[in-house]
């Protein structure tokens, strides 16, 4: 664009900034806002609870003492009990396992498939792109939740099928973003240089395009994790997916509905847990995005 004419000042060769500074800068920007730190704390608690659930939960989440049913929060049962006498707090704590498991496995599967599809569609264009992106469009024609419901209904209940259903619902979004990223990265000069050098397609895709697409994809994934956990809760609320005695937050909300007048905590507590986790992922995702590339602020 700018014509380098002779009167432009020439500048001596500029060294690349040292690696150390990049990391430091990342952490400094990432941890800048308190809300992001708040999110990180929540996530840490989430992971900690999931790993050490059996250690920190005060009671058994699956078997309750019938005599203690429907108690209000008290000193023995901090958040009260349900109709079967199961401690709400313990069920919440064990619920973190479900939430995390579903969340991460879904993201893992959808991530690999979605990124792969988007990469292929974006890089090769043409027929491959047409087919792949139209199928993605078709899947996105369903609201994410309804798509997940459809597949969960068809595949049957149970946590595995919920994960598969959620993955199918999440893949189109990833594929679309990855497609866009691939298209724009592909236009860069250094990619053309690689082609001129004779690098194979696979090499260009895996060694050059993919690494550049990773930071925005990580941001996308983090931002969407909350949504996936919420979708799982929604499914288990409806009764698709994990059912009692399994400890899933959505199912707990649904159970508690029947006893709303007796003991509202049964429904409220898991809802708050869901909110906190989704909020945490959103805030951390925002922080990641700002630290990795604030220019994404309009897009992601």
């Amino acid at each position: 664009m700018t014509e380098r004419d002779s009167t432009t000042i020439t500048v001596a060769f500029q060294e690349a900034p040292p690696r150390v500074n990049e990391w430091r800068r990342f952490w400094r920007v990432f941890l800048q806002r308190r809300i992001v730190i708040f999110g990180l704390v929540i996530l840490f608690l989430l992971v900690f609870s999931a790993i050490f659930a059996n250690v920190i939960a005060p009671h058994d989440p699956y078997i309750g003492i019938l005599a203690d049913s429907l108690q209000h929060p008290n000193s023995t049962y901090w958040l009260g009990t349900d109709i079967q006498g199961r401690d709400t707090l313990s069920r919440l704590i064990f619920g973190t396992r479900t939430a995390l498991m579903v969340g991460f496995v879904t993201v893992g599967i959808a991530g690999v498939v979605g990124v792969g599809l988007g990469l292929i569609a974006g890089y090769f264009g043409g027929v491959a792109s047409m087919i792949i992106m139209r199928i993605m469009d078709a899947l996105m024609g369903f609201p994410m939740l309804i798509l997940a419901m459809l597949f969960a209904a068809v595949l049957g209940g149970g946590i595995q099928n919920v994960v598969i259903a959620l993955s199918i619902a999440t893949v189109p979004g990833y594929a679309r973003v990855m497609n866009g990223l691939t298209l724009s990265i592909r236009e860069n000069d250094y990619i053309m240089a690689e082609r001129a050098m004779g690098s194979s397609n696979a090499r260009i895709m895996l060694s050059h395009i993919l690494p550049n697409a990773i930071p925005p994809m990580i941001v996308l994934v983090t931002l969407q994790l909350g949504g996936i956990i919420m979708a799982e809760a929604a499914l288990s609320f409806l009764g698709i997916g994990i059912k009692p005695p399994g400890a899933a937050w959505g199912a707990m909300v649904s159970d508690g509905y029947r006893y709303l007048s007796n003991n509202p905590t049964l429904s409220f507590a898991p809802g708050i847990a869901i909110m906190l986790v989704v909020f945490a992922f959103n805030m951390v995702g925002d922080g990641l995005r700002d630290a990795l590339d604030p220019r994404l602020r309009g897009i992601l």
Binding site: M1, T2, E3, D5, S6, T7, T8, I9, T10, V11, A12, Q14, R28, V29, Q32
Partner: protein, 329 residues
């Protein structure tokens, strides 16, 4: 010639996450009626920021921290940035055109709408008169078939054409001063030449003063009467075009001119670049900013703060301790 604008010790700074950047650090200059001055410097030296400050178009995290901008007897910095008095100055008394013609026009409004809104606002013209005037202006700046093109959208015009539209917009309300911020940098060389000639004609016709902000010495050599050379937020040399090109005295200016290949040089003569890198403007030291790259440096330069502007002769000033006439390095 009467003085139109006088800027005294303008300071504009930006708060960044790494520290305070004094983009403009004590800049003083003046513009007379009907003259063309050049403001020259490399990217990041503060020349654009200084002009945006004159128009009070600086927004957070930037902030005009000090100085005066005296125009028509009043200090513009006394006016609230987007208040009615400043807005009465913008466009009507001092107008500005920008570097990127591709993005400086609103894509969803027609050229006609963008031209006439100023005429409505400042010249209080009605629709008919404004439209007529807009067509006139478009023809004046060399857009063929103006009558048909007035209802076109910006994307129907090429970069050069859009810049002509910007020039028409800038001059539409007969401002006293037109500031052109790197007006031709984004265009090819042929279009550059055409546009600069056009601007020169226009400002003569409208009796407007012109400030050309650029990094291209060639541009100002041909068109400007006086030149200010900026470096790291300050003016380091000022004088008439003849002074600057014929008798450059500041080491930076000397270095700049050495970079230009000349037709009368022998074949094979190497271009001499200025060594070193442009300075990091964050938390600058008090000493001369050009010191690390200067081949005329004295011991004094490392100890004393940056010097004031001193006269070399007549209207020719430099900001330097060294006597660059002596050694020819």
């Amino acid at each position: 010639m009467t003085e139109l604008l006088r800027v005294n010790n303008l300071v504009t700074q930006f708060k960044t996450e790494s520290g305070l950047v004094k983009a403009v650090d004590g800049v003083s200059y003046y513009i007379d009626e009907q003259e063309i001055i050049g403001l020259v410097g490399e990217s990041g030296c503060g020349k654009s920021v200084s002009q945006l400050s004159v128009m009070q178009l600086i927004s957070a995290p930037g902030d005009i921290a000090g100085g005066e901008i005296i125009f028509e007897g009043k200090n513009l910095l006394d006016y609230e940035a987007n208040g009615p008095r400043m807005r009465a100055v913008r466009g009507a008394k001092i107008a500005m055109i920008f570097q990127e013609p591709m993005t400086s026009l609103n894509p969803v409004l027609t050229i006609g709408q963008q031209l006439t809104e100023m005429l409505h606002l400042h010249m209080k013209m009605n629709d008919e008169a404004a439209r007529k005037r807009a067509i006139e202006l478009m023809s004046l700046v060399g857009i063929p078939g103006a009558e048909n093109r007035i209802d076109d959208y910006p994307h129907h015009f090429s970069g050069g054409m859009r810049q002509r539209v910007m020039i028409a917009m800038g001059l539409s309300c007969n401002p006293k001063i037109l500031i052109a911020d790197e007006p031709t940098t984004a265009l090819d060389v042929t279009t550059q030449a055409q546009l600069l000639e056009l601007m020169k004609d226009m400002v003569e016709r409208f009796r407007t003063s012109l400030v050309i902000v650029t990094h291209n010495l060639g541009v100002v050599a041909r068109y400007a009467q006086r030149i200010y050379i900026m470096y790291a937020g300050r003016i380091v040399e000022s004088g008439t075009t003849k002074d600057i090109f014929g008798n450059p005295r500041h080491p930076y200016t000397i270095g700049l001119l050495k970079c230009i290949p000349r037709l009368d040089e022998e074949e094979g003569t190497k271009l001499v670049p200025i060594e070193g890198l442009p300075p990091n403007l964050i938390n600058m030291p008090q000493t001369c900013a050009f010191l690390p790259r200067c081949s005329y440096r004295l011991d004094k330069c490392a100890r004393e703060p940056w010097p004031e502007m001193t006269a070399v002769n007549g209207n020719h000033f430099i900001r330097c301790y060294a006597d660059t006439k002596e050694k020819k390095k």
